[in-house]
Each structure stands twice: as C-alpha cells, then as structure tokens.
Amino acid sequence: MKPFDRLVLIIILALIVLIAGIFLLGDRVGVQILAVYPSEGNPISINESIGITFDHDMDSESVLSGFSIEPPITGDLSWEDNTLWFSPIEPLDPAIEYQVSIASGVRAENNRELIEPFTFTVQIREPDLLFLVLDDLGGDIWRYEFGTGQTQPLTDTNSQVIDYTPDPIGSQIVFSQQNELGGSDLWVIDRDGQDVRILLDCEQDRCSQPDWSPNGEWIAYSREVYEPRENRYDLPRVWTIHVETTETAALYDFGDAYGHTPSFSPDGRLMATYDLNLHAIRILDLDTSEESVIPTTMAGVGDWSPDGQAMIFIDQVQAALEPNVGVYIVDFIEKDVYQAFGEFIPDIDFSQPRWSPDGEWVAVSLRPVGAGISKAIWLNSLDGREAYSLTDDPSATFSAYRWDPWGNRLVYQRFSLSGGGQHPQLYLWDRTTNTSVLLLETGARPEWLP
C-alpha cells in the first residue's frame, strides 16, 4: 500500500472512530419544543386552547402520557401537525397560574426523546364586558374592564352600530354598522378596538345579527336583500361568511328560505335559525345536513344548553285572558320537546330564557299576564323546584341578561319606565351574595368578552 493510500485509510478510519464516538455518547439534543402558546407574559382567554409545538412528528400516545396541567383541568387534546393543542372543557380561572408540563422521555415517531422535562406557565386574563352606548340613531361598542373599573369606546361610528358579538375567545368582535346607502355592513375589530376592517360590504343590503362559530372561522348572519325595482327589502335570509377568505353564501339555497337569528350550537355541529315561513326554529346539522323543525310562533331561536344537546325556547299558548308564553326544551338526543320547569306555569308571559353554564339553572324574564309591561328577571332551577326573583322593581323592565362564563354572575339591562329621556343601565348580580349592583349608568345589550 502506497503512503498516500495508507494516509487516506487512516483519515477514514479516524473519521469512523469519531462518528462512532459521537453516536455512542448519544443524543444530547433530542426532541425540541419550538414554541408554546401562549408565550410568556401573554395571558389568554378563559376558553382558549394551550399549544405546544415540537420539532418532530411525535408519538401521540407517548406525549399524552407525559402531558399534565397543574392544577388539573379537564379538556380535549388534539394534534395539528406537530402542535399539541389542549382545549379546556370548562373555563380557565384567571386567579390561577396554570403550570403546563411535558415529562422527559416523551418520544417522537423516530424514537428521539425529550431529554429535559419542560414546563411553562399559562396566565388567564379576566373577562371584560362589552356593551352598547345608545342614542336615537344606534350605538357604539364600549368595553368595561373589571380589573380597573374603567370603560373605553371600541368603535367610533357616530352611533351606527346595530348589533355585535365577540368571538368565542374574545380576540375579535364582529358588528354590523349602517352604511351611507341605507344598508348595513359587517365589520371586525380586535378586543382593544384596533385593527378595524370591513368584513363584508353589503352595499344596500342589511347585514346584521352576526354569530361566530365556536372555532371562530365562520360567522352566520342575517341578510335582507334590497329590491331596487320595488324599492323595498326582501325578507331576511341567513348567510354565512368565512372570516379569513370572506367567502359568503346563503345557508339555504332554496327560494323561500326566509329566516333570521342564526345561532351556532356550542360544539359547532348544529345551527339554529328562525324560519319565517314555517314559523319554527329550524335546526341544521352542519355535518350531515339533516334538519329538524321546532314549531313556535315566537320569532327567534332559543338558548343552547351548555353541551349543545338541547335548546330552551318559548312558545305562545292560547288562554282566555290573553296568550301566555310558555318555556320549552327540545332535546336533540332524545328527539323530544317538553315543558321546562317541570310543568306549565299559567298566566305568565316568559321571555329570553338563558341557560346557566352549569346547565342547572335558567335565567328568564317574566311578567304576569294582564299586568304592566315591566318584566322581572327570575332564576329557575331546571326541574322547577326552585325559583327566585333577581329584580323587584315594577318601575323598570329588565332584559338582555348574560351569564358570566362560570355562572357566578349575571349582567343585565335595566330600563326605567318612569318617563322619557331615560337610558338603559347595566347591573351585575352576584350569585354568592344574591345582590345586584349598578355597574354602569349608561349601557345596553351587554356581552361578556372572554
């Protein structure tokens, strides 16, 4: 063997030894965690998902066995490429800093392992409250911060906002705003009132009643099409729009599908609309396109149960003096409609039943048939065994009540019946003390902002 060949052989052997050495010393890097959501110092909303992105395709079983949250909470785990998402089933608690951990040793599909355990902290932001400040024209959206007690306007439309709703994680708000052509458009802003953008220019059509899908990807809305030849508006139909692509289409493509008040179920599987032809709540299964129809002469859809498997709604009941309005529950699993609160309660005009987040109670406004227009808010147990009044003020009427995400508080609107020039006020009822306090002197149609 020539000296040069010997040298090359030695070099190659030395390289092989070095390679073997590195190999035998083992993997000191292993699986890496590229990113977590939320990142440090950025609190998330009470129902937002927590994410961990790995640099490898992971062995799902291995990761799930090594995943933990302290204090423990229940939720669903899912994968999106190399990102593990934990979606809490119940709202997270802003008072708690959650410790999310991945144990060392969790494996990638290629058997590389996470060498060091990984822990990060998740902070939860306190929900705020949105409300409208109204004048004769319409309103503007404001935000009330519970932490500071401060209010701030989020829109500056010269009272052109008709209605609004925040997305499920409270990062964006969609609202309908009157335009110069007499129609109304859909606009989107972030939770601080920034990043204002038009989502849908409806020109002369009236687009309103927006409702977010639970995954935040779609918005259903009601659209009244302007008929220029007849110079009138057609009856409303329900449309949907994809938030990212702004692709929009009617929910039903047949001619007389007139309806309004779209509402996604909490699991996003069903959509409820009120059908103006059938005088019924129409329930559409968005996966299978199967439909059910729940007749009711009271225009509007009801309120979904927290698990999305039932809906509480109202219907008119003929009576001697004047029609009563009863409360009913439709169970989509058992395919059954039955009287809420155990039995029919005569001579009462119920409205706006709202299921509590724990599914055990219903807030409902009511007035005795034949009495004045003042409606009081009551809290009824679902089985009808318990009921108590939250308001006791015949000089005002109460409405637009919304449970907080835990069912501990109820914000509602009070409107004085004592004379002109009155503005609606917002009150907050606390379940633990069973007391209501005046929250805002001027405010209407509140919504919790997660």
């Binding site: 070099i11 390289l15 070095l18 993997d27 890097v29 290629n110």
Partner: protein, 310 residues
C-alpha cells in the same frame, strides 16, 4: 400478461419522465460549464493562468474552494471546467477543492439556498460545511502528486501542453477564437455529455424502482435520517441550483443535520458526477473523493443532530 405489460408501460413512462426531468433541469448548467470550459481554453493563456494562482499549495486549496464565485456552475458543469483548468495547469488539490465547493459556493446556489431557507442554520451550515469539507479534502490531496490524481490525458495536457488537442494560436481574431471555443465546447459536450446521460438514466432508474416514498418511510433517527438523505441526494442527482427547494419539502420530517447532509454531499457527489469523474480522475482518486467527504459530512451532521439545538 396484460397486467405485466401495463406495469412495464407504467415503469417506462415513469422512467422517461424522471429521466427527462433530470436531463432538462441539469442540461443548461452542463452547457454553461462546457461553454465556460471552451472560453477558458481559448481566451485564457496557460502562462497567464499559472501566474495568477497562489504559489502556496495550501493557500491554493483555500483559493480553489472560493473559485466557484467566479465560475457559477453546478456539479454538472464543474467537471468539464475542472478538466480544462487542469489542462491550464491548475494543481490537482486546488482543482479538487474547487470541484467539491463550486456547486455550492457560487452566487446562483447561494441565492437559491437563501430563498428557500432564509438566513439561518441551513443557509450558514450549507456554506460553512461545504467550505470546510472541500478544503479538508483538498488539503489531503496536497500530499499526493498531481500525476497520481488526474488521468493520463489530463496529465499529458498538464505537463506537455505543446501536444494539447486545442493549442490555440493567440493571433486568431476574436471571432475565430469564439468559433474555436464553440468547437471545443462541442467536443467536450460529447466527451462528458455521454456520461452525464448515463448518470441521469441511472438516477432515473433508481428513482423509478426505489420509490421516494420508500426512502422517506425509512427516514428515522438522527443517524438514519442522515444516511437516508445522503442516499437520496446521490440517487436523485438534483442540480445544486434547485436542490434547496427540494430539501425544503423534507424539513418537516427530517432533522436539520440530515437536510444539511443532503445539501452538502449531494452537490459534491452523485451518480452523474461519479461517472463524469471517470473522465478526469483515476479510480482511486474517485473512491477517495467519494469517501472522505462522505465521512466528513456524516461526522459534521451527526454532531449537529446530537449536539446542537438547530
């Protein structure tokens, strides 16, 4: 019978498609290299060339690894160019560092790598590792006599240029010189091009009969992924000007080290290149040229996978 016929037809269709894909993709770069070779032969005098090379062999190796910045050719064009440079008197070790580095160390490939990966570990890693490995391999060959490295024809040209096939009369007009350069390029094309076609065909055949999905399915740990990506680079024989975009499609499933192995070793050695090397280098040289960078690449990329969080 019909099934066999149908399957054969399918294989032939795939084979021809892949072959044409490789051939068409690489042909412009081969032509560019051959044209550069012809122009170099006609317009650059041997004395002028030798005068401007570093006298120190070690510095020459480093110089050679950066020479690609002036000759933007990929691995398909660099072989004829190196052969011509050897004829002009380029030291063998410097030619080797140029041969190994030029397919990456040229403006086109640097730009395409940047476009695919941005400024980051893959971009810097590709340039850095290519330079280190080309220089180290070149330095090894400084210890060998040039005549032991390159083949007889080149050796003859190198040491006795009076008998060169293309001894150029410097009194020729520009037009005549250009015509001469094209003639030389044409001869070069048929000389090297045959091996290029055979290499492209072999690469296409391997891709046809060993599906990429099978290779990817085997992709695994930090070591195996490196070996697989090296094998893939050798088999695919993708031109270095476009391989960064191909590598990008592997990023989700393969380690950074293995991506770098693909991007560093592939441009140095692949099936076509090895066949083309046979027109320039002696057999042992080709073996060493394949093995030394191979083990250096494995060592470096394994170190990256096992020790560096990139």
């Amino acid at each position: 019978m019909m099934e066999i016929l149908s399957q054969t037809t399918q294989y032939l269709t795939t084979l021809s498609t892949i072959f044409l894909g490789i051939f068409i993709e690489a042909l412009p770069y081969l032509l560019l290299g051959i044209l550069a070779s012809g122009i170099l032969e006609v317009f650059v005098r041997r004395e002028f060339f030798l005068k401007h090379l570093p006298k120190n062999r070690y510095l020459g190796v480093i110089f050679g690894s950066f020479l690609g910045l002036a000759f933007p050719v990929c691995e398909h064009g660099v072989v004829p160019l190196v052969r011509r440079l050897y004829n002009k008197g380029l030291p063998a070790s410097m030619g080797i560092s140029f041969l190994l580095a030029a397919p990456v160390m040229n403006p086109i490939v640097i730009a395409s790598t940047l476009a695919a990966f941005g400024f980051g570990p893959v971009f810097y890693g590709r340039i850095g590792l290519t330079l280190i490995i080309a220089i180290l391999t070149g330095l090894v060959f400084t210890l060998q006599k040039d005549g032991e490295v390159v083949k007889a024809l080149s050796q003859e040209l190198l040491f006795d240029c009076q008998h060169c096939n293309h001894e150029i009369d410097q009194a020729l007009s520009f037009k005549q010189k250009l015509s001469q350069a094209i003639v030389i390029s044409g001869e070069e094309f048929f000389d090297i091009g045959l091996f290029f076609i055979i290499g492209a065909f072999l690469a296409a055949a391997l891709q046809t009969f060993i599906p990429q999905s099978t290779l990817l399915a085997l992709g695994g740990g930090p070591m195996l992924s490196i070996l697989l990506m090296i094998a893939l680079a050798v088999v695919l024989s993708v031109c270095s000007t476009v391989d960064a975009f191909l590598a990008l499609s592997f990023v989700a499933n393969f380690s950074t080290g293995s991506i770098l192995a693909f991007l560093v070793y592939g441009p140095m050695i692949d099936i076509k290149a090895i066949l083309m090397f046979t027109r320039v280098f002696k057999k042992k040289t080709i073996l060493y040229l394949a093995l030394i960078p191979l083990f250096l690449v494995i060592l470096a990329t394994l170190f990256i996978n096992f020790r560096l969080s990139v």
